[in-house]
Amino acid sequence: MTNNIILRVVSKSLIPLIIMFALYVQFHGDYGPGGGFQAGVIMSAASILYALVFGLDAAEQVFPPAILRILASLGVLIYAGVGVVTLFLGGNYLDYSVLADTRIAGQHLGILLVELGVGMSVFSVMLIIFFAFAGRGRP
């Protein structure tokens, strides 16, 4: 689809905006609707749009599947790791109050880290699944 100039130009202007919107949703999940899941899915939608317009090979160069696998595992590790860190700091598993000096700051930090882990993992898994489906048809 790279020959279609309208698709190319429009998606080149839209993909950065979509990625920025995904980051906005990720970090403003505390104050408005949003959070890790929505941000991960929106970011993967931007990557799928890139893959559809510019070809699967170009998309696999921007997001190499090896990096995606590492990112997916890293997301889960961050989430579970926050729980282990709180264990070591003296609280229960996933008890964010012990992460910082005050209780509210600890909760904010904990929720931020956890949503980051969730967003990373969901983004990478959705993209892994899409690349698996799209790459199956290639000879």
């Binding site: 104050y31 609707p33 899941f37 969901v122 699944i129 489906f133 199956r136």
Partner: protein, 118 residues
């Protein structure tokens, strides 16, 4: 009449549930079965969210001057359910692709014929 207005949402959700259920059990094409399953899931979400709304309430984001909020707990439950649903759909579709490569068809009757399993 008030009773019908008060329960109309639930009955439409049950109607959609039964349409999805009918698609799963009566059609032979595997992709259509998966779509019917997704219709069933979405209608269950509609049922739960209908049970959590409050008339005159706002979205459960604390803002100044708003006194009545909708119930946030079913929202959390359904958020998790939606994501698990898409994971299940992706896995089901991957299995359909492998079945097509192994049997050459995705119609249930022909698969049973090839396997002599019915």
């Amino acid at each position: 009449m008030d009773f019908i207005i008060g329960h109309y949402n639930y009955w439409i959700a049950i109607l959609l549930m039964m349409i999805g259920f009918y698609t799963v059990i009566s059609r032979g094409n595997l992709v259509k079965k998966i779509i019917g399953l997704n219709i069933f899931q979405v209608s269950v979400f509609l049922l739960y969210i209908s049970m959590s709304t409050v008339k005159g309430g706002a979205a459960p984001i604390i803002t100044e001057g708003v006194k009545l909020y909708s119930n946030p707990l079913p929202h959390v439950l359904i958020l998790t359910a939606i994501v698990v649903g898409v994971a299940t759909t992706a896995l089901g579709l991957a299995l359909v692709i492998r079945i097509k490569e192994a049997y050459g068809t995705i119609e249930e009757d022909e698969i049973h014929q090839q396997d002599h399993s019915l």
